[in-house]
Every structure is written in C-alpha cells, then in structure tokens.
Symmetry: C2
Subunit: 424 residues, 2 copies
C-alpha cells in the first residue's frame, strides 16, 4: 500500500497567476511555506501559455526558468510539484497566445502547427524540469476540454491531440542524453516515465457530458494515472442534493470509482486532482465538514493516488470578473490567513497519516451500461449516479463496472468483485 | 512655419514587442541609438494591452514603469516620443487581455466596463508620462479600427468610444495637481493638452472603406492632430498602379490633402504617422526611391506635421506567422544593419532640414462628393482618387475640398483655394 498524497493547487496570493509577469520569489516562498505548514506534501502549479510561448516559435527562456525556480522553491519547503503545461483555462479565463486568436485563429486541438507548437513547449518544459527530485510529473494542461467550446473537435481528434502531447511530455521528461532522471517521487510505485508522471486532465464533461469529445476512456487510459476533478457544481450536484448530502460528501469517492471502471488496468491509480468548496454551493459554514468528509470517504478507494485541494489562496477581490465562487475557494484568504477549512483539512490529513486506512474491499459493483451519448446517466441527476449513491447511503461500498466488462471473470477477479448489481 | 518632424515607429529588434516581457534597457538603448543615428527626431512606441492591464482592474505598475523608462531612454538619445496606449493591433496580431475574450467576451468598443477600463489605463499612462520633456503625446492606440472585425460597432458607438478615451488621455496628461507640464515639444504650435498631444489613429478603411464605422470625420476632427496611415497595399494601390507609379509616390501627399479636407480647422495639422515600403508591393530595389519620393512629395503639403516611417527594425524570421511583408519593413535588418532605404530616408531628411520647403500654395481643389457609403471613390481604384492623381501627374498640386464646403467662400479663402474642379 503506497502512502496517499495530499496537496493543493497553488494560486498565488498576490496577483493570482498574473503574478508570473512580476515573479517574486519571496512572495512565492511565503505562499509555499503557508501551504507546507498545513502538512500538505505537494502543490500543482500553472504557468500561462501566452507568457511561455508568445510567438509560435518563441518559448521564453525566462518564463521556463521561473517555472523551474518555483519548483525549486517548493523543494525548499519540502513540497513536491506537478506542473501543468498549457494554460489554457484557469478559473473561467482562457489564456491563448495571440498566434492562435483573432486574425490568426487556429484550432488549438486540430491545427497541425498549433499541436506541434504545444508539443515543443511540453518537450521544453520536460527538459527543463527533469532531474528535479521533487517533480511529481508534467501534465499537459489544466482541464484542456474547457477549450472545446471555442475549438470544436471530434473524439478522434482529441485522441490524436492527447497522444501527441503525452508523447512529447514523456520525451521531455525522459529525454535521453542526460535529461532524464530515473526514480524519485515522480514515479511512485514504479509508474510513469523515468523523470516523472505524464498526465492530462479534463473537467467533468469528460465523465458526464453526453457526446462530449473528451471521453472517459481518454481520461482513464491515456497518461500514467487518471486524474479526476469532481466538482460539486457539475451537474448542479450540491444544489440538487444539498451541501451536506451523501451525494456531495461521496462525490470524490464516486468519481474515483467511476474512473477506475473506465481503466483497462484494474489497479490504475486515480488522482482526485481538484475538489473544493465553492460558495454558495457549499456554504462557508459547511466547508470544513465537506473537506473532512470528502477526504475521509475517498481515502478508502483502493486505487486512490491522492487528493489535491482547489485551492491554496482566495482570489483577491481587487481583481475583477471572476465568477463569484472563485473568490472564496482558498484554504487561505487573500490576506494570507488560514480559513477554518484549512484547519479541518490539515487535521484530517494528520489523522489519516497517523492511522492509514486499509483500502476497502469493494466486492459489490453496480454495472454501468451507457454510451458516449448517454453518459449523463453517470452524472448528478442521472439514474446510474443516483442508484450508486442510494447503495452507498445504505452502507454498501459499491464499485463501478462497465457493462462491456461485466462478463469478464478474470477482470472482475482482479478487482475483487463478487457481485454485480444493475440499475432499475 | 513650424519645422517638419521625421521619425520612425519603433519595433524592437530582439523579440519584437514580446520583448516587453523581458525588457532590456541595454538592447533598447542600442536600438534607439541606431534610430537617432539616422537623424530622426522621434519614435512612436507601443506597449501591449494584456501586459499593461491583465485584469480589468489591475494595471501593472512594472509595465507602466517600463514604458516611462523607454521614454527616458529615448530622451537620452535625443528622441521625442509618441506613446500609443491600447495595443490592440500590431502587424496582424491582436493583443486582447483575457478579460475581453472567450468566456469573458466583451466588445471593446461598446461594453461600458471595457471602455471605462481603457479610460483608466489611458489616464494612468498619461499621469505616468506627463512632465517628460520629450513626450510628444499620448495616442489611444494603434489603428483601433482593426479591431472592428471582431468587435462590431456603429458610427455613433465609435464616436462615443473615441470621445471618452480622448478625454481620459487628455485628463491623464493634463491632470491638475502637478501632473501636467505646459508647453514643450508635446504642443508644437500651441496645440494639444498642456502635457502633449492627444490623438487617435485608424487604418485606411476609415478613409476609403464604404460604411466603415470609423469615419474620416472622426479621424479629422477628434484629437489634436489628424493622423493618417497611407499604406500602398490599401486598395491594392501599388499592385494596381505599379511600385514606381505617381499614385504610389504621391499617396502620402494625397492622404494628407484628403485628411485636410475633412477637418473643420483649415490649418489642422496632419501627421503621416505610418508609411512604409512593404515587399512585394514595393520591391526592395525600389524602396529607397519610394521613401525619398514619398517624403519629398508630402513635405510640400501646407498642413503636414511630420512623417513617421514604419518601421525601425525588420521582424526576425525566427518569429513565425507574420504576414510576409512584415518581415522586411525595417530601416534596419534583424541583425541591426541599416538597409539602403535607411540611407535614402536619412539623406532626404538631411536635405529637407538644410533647405526647408516653402509649403506649396494649393489654389486649385478637386471637389469630393461622396457619402459614408461611397467613400471608396476617394481610394485607389476610385474615380475621385484617379482624377486627383491625373491632375497631379499633369503637374498641378490639387487640394481636396468636400462638396459640402464648396460654396463656403470664407472657408475656401482660409485655405487659399481659388479654383474648384469636379470629377467627370
């Protein structure tokens, strides 16, 4: 049993991600020290695409150096780091370099030169980051599928895009000729490229969105681990069932089991890479309890890699135009004071480290029978989702099995599944 | 008779305008010294909107400080400076802050908060720049009407936008309480705000584009001087008539006279703020001659303020995706070597300074009778344009008079016009 990882998505307290334009190691160190002070072991970090690659054939060395510096500053605070490469989407804002927009419009998923440019960027980042002992890995970018709305794309094109960029990231991290560094925290349990994990991420439409071009299979089968971002606003989960409902408190657990079902490898790790307590979906008074229950419930999942909370610091209200909920997601407020949720999360993690949970056996599975066009059954409001949650509420700890695997005895045995249930 | 001004639009040799992200005073000084070495007296400079104002309510002090530093570096080289505020459009790329795009789309011309944000930016820039003895003035931004394609707007809305932002720029430059500085080079002939000129600019569609929402009247009546950007590719001028044609060599002169006609003030200055020798419209071998003829011909216009060549340095070919012609517009190549056009321009300016031309009397005017929907008659290929050019080719030096002013004897007398001709 490997140790569960607990971390936070790092949102700089001063100037949000615009702070890259005025990178200040002292402020960064201060933020990271606060994070480490909660007992968290890692951060996920995000640079901005237009600053890294302002021209298609220009990657700014200074920006890459900043990113490496951030990783090193994290190391000084005892924090490991996952780097997201292409942002891309952050908290409702889409950061596109000018060479993809306006008169120069290029579809970032399908334009061959745009794909190649992103591949070069990922190879460059990988090459610069590799060998850093605290590097967990390199992710393609944050919730790339948020860009679908403005860059129409098919399933096949998404698969090509992800395969190309994952190969580029892997090549960057594991590049021969001295760039790659074997082992380290980047390859827990022997996973991943020599230099660290290579992953991608998507928002919940990949799991619940009928006909969405990013598929559950792409999330669960490409890259070294499956990342999930089970947000309580997706499918109006918290509004639909209430902020203290079982559906909300078991949402990360459910998302982890759902992701496990779509994997080919029965023991493929699942990383709850984003979960958070957005107001008003989760009222501030409920946030500490939500954090505790979310972490406790998901920590029993056999394949869980870890949990990375969103986010470290509230967005300062002097910055305009964020959706209201983005201003209050931090463990620390914009003045740097820890909020009750920070204390709750820290205490829960301390407990789990002191007495690690034995991964639960999940011998009963609910069979998921859907197509790409009917996958909303597995989201909030869907029959599958609600049946699973009802079983959970009754005290069962159901696994998820795809209908196409329900007769595969070898597979079921590998997962320890002994009983199959069907939705009404 | 005021002295004609000759300058260049400053395009940084290293990294083009992306160099703001890695501002290097030493490189900037080197570029500016080269420019001053040609005998030019001013530069026009451009920062990037997303770097100045990455969030609607965040103006980066460091970026404003860079801009002021550039103005001061120019002063050290004996160069005056016009600052363009909102870029916006540069060489085919549109630089929009993320708070105006994608999920946050706002029409930059009509959204009240977007207009207010630009006003705040211009007030801030004006306040920071005012008092600089070498400041010519503050322009709203480079060819704002290039943004029309992606921000649909009416004439009335454009007028409101320009009036609001011109007032903001003027307020910034002339702010009471010690910010404003009277006189100086910024107000040649007593024009402009205490701290310098306040202007705006548009590409040729304002003059020649039927139904284009930026009108000739807006260009010729708002702000302290009229700026014109008579490019030889507009209306396919050089392709249509040939690179050594009279139409090409008199284009800047024609544009200046056309702008004079649309002004209310008979002596309102006109600034040929952009003209250049784009390949293949002007073959490299013809560029020196084109520059010389352009400057000599326009320098006879009674209301000319000056000429600002586009541009100082070629775009380095290591930067991708520029339209081909943008790579070769510099007076210096991307290695920093002066091109033949630089020597031609410098020699022509030296001649004109040694023996200033007496502004020509333009006693014969060709009456322009068009509406906003038929203004293409005054562009290349149009009847009016071709008639004016034929008169010019025959040795006349025709002025332009609007039909609505053709019976206004006082006005005609003020302009010294004694004869009116009509198009066939």
């Amino acid at each position: 049993m490997s140790t569960l990882r607990f971390g936070v998505n790092y949102t700089p307290r001063h100037g949000w991600f615009h702070s890259w334009q005025d990178f200040d190691p002292a402020r960064t160190r201060e933020d990271l020290a606060q994070i480490a002070g909660l007992g968290l072991d890692h951060v996920r970090v995000f640079h901005l695409w237009p600053l890294l690659q302002p021209n298609r054939t220009l990657i700014r060395t200074a920006a890459v150096d900043q990113l490496v510096r951030l990783v090193d500053l994290a190391a000084e605070e005892g924090l490991d780091v996952l780097v997201d490469g292409v942002q891309g989407h952050l908290s409702s804002f889409d950061f596109y370099p000018e060479w993809t927009r306006s008169w120069h419009h290029r579809n970032v998923f399908t334009d061959p030169e745009a794909i190649e440019a992103q591949a070069v960027l990922l190879r460059t980042l990988g090459g610069a980051l590799t060998g850093r002992p605290n590097l967990i890995g390199l992710q393609l970018g944050n919730e790339l599928n948020n860009l679908v709305e403005h860059n129409p794309v098919t399933v096949t094109q998404v698969d090509h895009y992800l395969d190309t960029l994952l190969a580029a990231a892997r090549e960057g991290l594991g590049a021969p000729g001295g760039l790659g560094a074997p082992g380290g925290l980047g390859s827990p349990g022997g996973l991943g490229a020599p230099g660290g994990l290579v992953t991608h991420s998507a928002y919940d439409a990949a799991w619940y969105g009928d006909d969405h071009p990013f598929t559950p299979e792409a999330s669960a089968r490409k890259g070294d681990v499956t990342t999930v971002h089970p947000w309580v606003f997706s499918g109006d989960c918290a509004r639909r069932y209430g902020p203290r409902s079982p559906q909300v408190q078991h949402l990360a657990e459910y998302g982890t089991e759902l992701a496990t079902a779509y994997a080919v490898d029965p023991v493929r790790p699942v990383w709850v890479q984003e979960t958070g307590a957005p107001e008003p979906h989760i009222p501030a008074a409920d946030a500490p309890g939500f954090a505790r229950e979310t972490v406790l419930n998901v920590s029993g999942c056999p394949n869980l890699w870890g949990v990375t909370w969103w986010c470290s610091h509230d967005v300062d209200r002097s910055l305009a135009d964020f959706p209201e909920l983005e201003y209050t997601l931090g463990l620390f407020d914009s003045a740097g004071r820890p909020k009750p949720i920070a204390e709750s999360l820290a205490a829960t993690i301390t407990e789990l480290r002191a007495a690690p949970r034995t991964p639960e056996r999940r011998e009963t599975a609910l069979v998921l029978d859907c197509t790409p066009s009917t996958r909303s059954t597995s989201g909030p409001g869907g029959t599958y989702f609600e049946t699973w949650m009802e079983l959970r509420r009754q005290g069962a700890r159901p696994a998820v099995v795809l209908a196409e695997r329900a007769s595969d005895e070898t597979y079921l045995a590998a997962r320890g599944i002994k009983e199959l249930l069907r939705t009404p």
